[in-house]
């Protein structure tokens, strides 16, 4: 069998080889030293027809427990950066249009106005959610945006010291630590107290810093005091980088209006499938003054040769293909399709819809919080305000509870572990609720949890 998507007939191949004065396809590779060439074939599973591959995928899929109302489906109370929000048919349908799906980066603006305009609209909406002037056309995910936000702050201030709250998503902190080995950032972690950042020690001894980083709400769901974070940034000469949940802007004041210089975040809640963690969407917004340090692509407005409105990627001189080793970032391929999806989702939501999902999620979280905290032996970790996620201390380890609740049809949450070793949050259960959770689901979850921890 040959390659299933190659159109050439044997006769066409023979004719083309003849045109090239060649007798076999092997001769095409004559410039590769013979000693290197693979003698046998690749050691791969055998080629299969489409129908056979689909059968295999169905078999494999049966070993997964997705969120939602389907065979083996779990009622999802897990969050930790990935949330089970409503994704309507209109968004799924538009975002799977092949003109969006199968285009490359808009290098030829004249035939890429669709993607470019969608990105322009996306940038506008993300800038508004952030409360800042500029947003880029996406980065890989929230973690990548955090790293780029810190890089911007360090470059702008010339100071490699990074004061990062322990309330920032621990997986993102881990990514920051990995990349800091290359960039040489000196990341200092600021501890939590009762679930929110304890700023006191850093404020008492405010050595200079390049970035102050805080979650809003933080990983444990608590709403942080951004005024205190801004104050520390001012005392240390740092840029304030806020890791924000875009849904929070439906209800809370925007991070930009509370003093953030850079807003980064995970855009998955904006219409993107849980997808086992990707592809997601790195949100990135900053002040207009920092636009020349912006990582990634930026779409701007211009005119064409006839003076007609047109869109094009702009301030390209920041980017790797032009600046090479002096570029502000190495990003090339980003997550454009997810940005387009988010723009469609935000259009579907509209002003009232975004407020509605934030409010409905907060109500569901409150109802879940009170129902679960009423169980004997279950205690909230923090007394501080939260939006749609909170941490609970259980009489058993969270992982044990999660395992037991799967049997009852619930994904109970996420165990707080990595990044919290030795803190009072370690072993807690992080529970998230969205506008999709019903009273019946929460009551059932509470009843099952009560049994599971007895």
């Amino acid at each position: 069998m040959t390659a299933p998507f190659v159109p050439h007939t044997d006769a066409e191949v023979a004719a083309m080889l003849g045109d090239l004065g060649l007798e076999s396809l092997d001769e095409l590779f004559a410039t590769i030293p013979a000693a290197l060439r693979l003698a046998g074939g690749l050691d791969l599973p055998p080629q299969q027809s489409e129908a056979d591959v689909v059968d295999r995928l169905v078999d494999l899929g049966e070993h997964n427990r997705p969120a939602g109302r389907c065979a083996g489906g779990l009622v999802c109370f897990a969050g930790a950066g990935a949330y089970d929000h409503e994704v309507p048919a209109a968004v799924r349908s538009l975002a799977s249009r092949s003109e969006f799906v199968t285009a490359y980066t808009p290098y030829q603006a004249e035939v890429a106005q669709g993607v470019l305009q969608a990105l322009f609209e996306y940038q506008t909406m993300i800038a508004r959610l952030a409360g800042l002037e500029i947003a880029n056309g996406s980065l890989y995910d929230g973690a990548a945006s955090l790293v780029e936000g810190v890089n911007l702050a360090v470059a702008a201030t010339g100071d490699r010291r990074v004061l990062c709250s322990a309330g920032v998503n621990p997986r993102w902190r881990a990514v920051l630590a990995t990349f800091s080995k290359g960039s040489g950032h000196d990341v200092v972690t600021l501890p939590l107290r009762d679930g929110v950042t304890d700023w006191s020690a850093a404020v008492a001894r405010p050595a200079s810093a390049g970035a102050v980083v805080v979650g809003f709400p933080n990983y444990l769901g608590c709403i942080e005091d951004l005024a205190a974070a801004r104050d520390l940034a001012d005392r240390t000469g740092a840029r304030l980088v806020v890791c924000a949940d875009p849904i929070a802007s439906g209800l809370l004041r925007t991070p930009g209006s509370l003093g953030a210089d850079v807003v980064v975040g995970e855009g998955q809640p904006l219409g993107i499938a849980l997808g086992y963690g990707g592809p997601y969407l790195g949100l990135f917004a900053c002040r207009a003054a920092d636009v020349r340090r912006l990582p990634g692509r930026l779409v701007g407005e211009t005119v064409d040769a006839d003076g007609k409105l047109a869109y094009v990627t702009t301030l390209r001189a920041r980017e790797q293909d032009i600046r090479r080793e002096k570029a502000s970032s190495n990003v090339c391929t980003n997550q454009t399709l997810m940005a387009v999806t988010a723009a469609i989702q935000l259009g579907w939501l509209g002003t009232s819809g975004l407020r509605e999902i934030a409010l409905r999620s907060a109500r569901a979280a409150r109802y879940a919080h009170d129902s679960l905290a009423a169980i004997d032996g279950v205690e909230p970790l923090s007394p501080h305000p939260y939006l749609r996620e909170f941490a609970l201390r259980l009489p058993v380890d969270a992982e044990v509870a999660i395992e037991r609740l799967v049997d009852e049809g619930y994904l109970a949450g996420v165990a707080v572990r990595d990044g919290f070793a030795g803190t009072d949050a370690e072993g807690c259960l992080l529970v998230a609720a969205t506008e999709r959770r019903t009273r019946g689901e929460i009551d059932g979850f509470a009843a099952s949890l009560e049994k599971a921890i007895r």
């Binding site: 590769i32 669709g114 993607v115 995910d141 963690g277 005119v303 390209r316």
Partner: protein
């Protein structure tokens, strides 16, 4: 009849007074074609909406009862307020202003814009995969973990390496991961190396990644056969060199003939070889980076393995390494246990996470599907046909466009409009724009940087000989027009049939308007 006519005068009931429609804009203007599409913000009518939500029976607490008032926004963030019908019309019209692989040939060099099989999309939208929460315990994700393990194994087989990470979200992320692996390896041996060598033909992400990896870039030149200049490489090598990043076939579409000598020289000074896999499509099943002596390889699944580019992303840039680097890989990694089950495992000396979760999982699933559909023979067929197409196209262009390094190419050919430019003033950019109106996406232009007026053409294996012939005819026509009419002819005016004509890039940068709110 004038609207001023007095209805009472002839006893007929007159037109009812109709109130003016305020705000928003009509969304039914016929915009298939070249009419400007209003932004979603202009279509907005406050109070209109599309969203609806589940009935939940949860008490309807007011915001103030849930969150202290000091945190609450006084006014909600303003978003476009449109009906679902207008939303669908708007984005559908935008798709009519967008070229894509599904519409036609996209010979964008270095980007491997092959046809993306539909079954891969379907695989990625199946609820059993698409709706799985990334923090679900392994007992709930055995199907996913099996896919990831099998994909890692397949990628290792294809590249000739021994272990891989699937976390990097794109090629550039893979590069930086690879450089951090290099750093960890040297540090584990107590060595502090400071430089990484790259050829002058390298893609821009290579030098940018080197800087982010904490290394200095040393650039080596290209010899007159289009390969790395061995003498300058040897001169650049030393005990302070951590590694070299190579693309093979390189960005000229040429196989590095001296790869064995290069590998030996690099390894002799204790440095590592990094393989930029953007061009792997040319050599699938023919030769493996591991057998060429590479230690670290990144792959662009959104090129070689047909996962769609999504208008600029998402991609996936897995990194595979030789045995001596396996312990440093990012973690956690999916693992096959002795009892046949699957779990997450942390490599012994891991450099740590490089993605917030497990990588672009649904992209990885598409690539897994693509590899299954091909098997070993199918993948080799991909490489053979891609190389056949590129060489055949190159021959068709001989005599009209310059062939700067004229020898058999791999999956793409770089031709130059330099002579045409000198003779007629026709530049590579003009060729690109004229092609757009002739029905083809343009090749990559002005890259690699070492070729003047470069047109980098990668037809891929999924374009038929008929399409290639038509593409060649179009390219030759553009050249002929310039010769006959001069540069001010057709090409300089182009494109005229596209949704917009040539855009003023300088103006976009000079007067930055990057959001609707920055419009004056």
């Amino acid at each position: 009849m004038s609207s001023q006519t007095d209805p009472a005068s002839n006893g007929q009931p007159g037109p009812r007074p109709i109130s003016a429609v305020a705000g928003g804009r009509a969304s039914s203007a016929p915009v298939v074609g070249r009419d400007t599409e209003p932004t979603l913000f202009e279509l907005s009518v406050p109070g209109r909406h599309a969203a609806s939500f589940r009935t939940t029976q949860i008490p309807e607490w007011a915001a103030e009862e849930l969150v202290p008032a000091q945190y609450l926004a006084e006014t909600p963030v303003d978003l476009p307020d449109v009906s679902e019908r207008d939303l669908v019309a708007h984005f559908t019209r935008l798709t009519h202003r967008q070229y894509s692989v599904d519409l036609g040939a996209y010979p964008l060099g270095s980007c491997t814009m092959k046809y993306n099989p539909k079954v891969c999309d379907e695989a990625a939208s199946a609820a059993a995969f698409a709706n799985v929460h990334p923090a679900a315990p392994p007992a709930c994700t055995q199907g996913w973990l099996e896919v990831l393990v099998e994909l890692e194994e397949s990628l290792c087989a294809i590249t000739g390496m021994s272990a891989a990470t699937l976390q990097p979200a794109a090629g550039a992320a893979g590069e930086l991961t690879g450089l951090l692996l290099m750093r960890a390896y040297h540090e584990s041996r107590g060595e502090d190396r400071t430089r990484v060598i790259i050829p002058d033909s390298a893609h821009g992400t290579n030098p940018a990644s080197v800087t982010l990896g904490g290394y200095e870039v040393t650039t080596v030149g290209t010899n007159d056969r289009g390969g790395v200049d061995l003498d300058s490489l040897r001169a650049a090598l030393g005990p302070d060199v951590a590694g070299i990043m190579l693309t093979n076939p390189n960005t000229l579409g040429l196989f590095e003939e001296d790869i064995v000598e290069i590998a030996t020289a690099v390894h002799e000074v204790g440095a590592l070889l990094y393989y930029d896999g953007a061009n792997l499509n040319a050599i699938l099943g023919v030769v493996r980076p591991g057998d060429m002596g590479f230690d670290i390889v990144h792959l662009n699944l959104h090129k070689t393995f047909a996962t769609p580019h999504g208008g600029g992303g998402p991609g996936a840039g897995p990194v595979a390494v030789s045995a001596r680097l396996a312990d440093f890989l990012p973690g956690p990694r999916p693992a096959r246990l002795d009892d046949g089950r699957f779990a997450w495992a942390q490599p012994a000396a891991s450099i740590g996470r490089i993605h917030g979760w497990h990588g672009n999982a649904l992209v990885l699933l598409r690539a897994w599907t693509y590899i299954r559909l091909h098997g070993a023979e199918g993948l080799r067929g991909v490489a053979e046909t891609a190389v056949l197409n590129a060489n055949w196209l190159k021959e068709k262009l001989r005599g009209t466009f310059d062939l700067p390094y004229d020898r058999p190419v791999m999956h793409e050919c770089v031709v130059s409009a330099e002579s045409l430019d000198k003779a007629t003033g026709l530049r590579a950019l003009d060729v690109a724009k004229r092609l757009l109106e002739l029905g083809f996406h343009s090749p990559t232009v002005y890259f690699p940087l070492i070729v003047h007026e470069a047109l980098m053409i990668e037809p891929t294996e999924t374009e038929s000989p008929q399409t290639l012939a038509a593409l060649a005819d179009a390219l030759l026509l553009v050249a002929r027009e310039a010769t006959e009419e001069g540069a001010a002819g057709e090409a300089r005016q182009a494109p005229r049939t596209t949704p917009v004509r040539r855009v003023d890039e300088a103006r976009a940068a000079r007067r930055l308007v990057a959001t609707y709110d920055q419009r004056s």
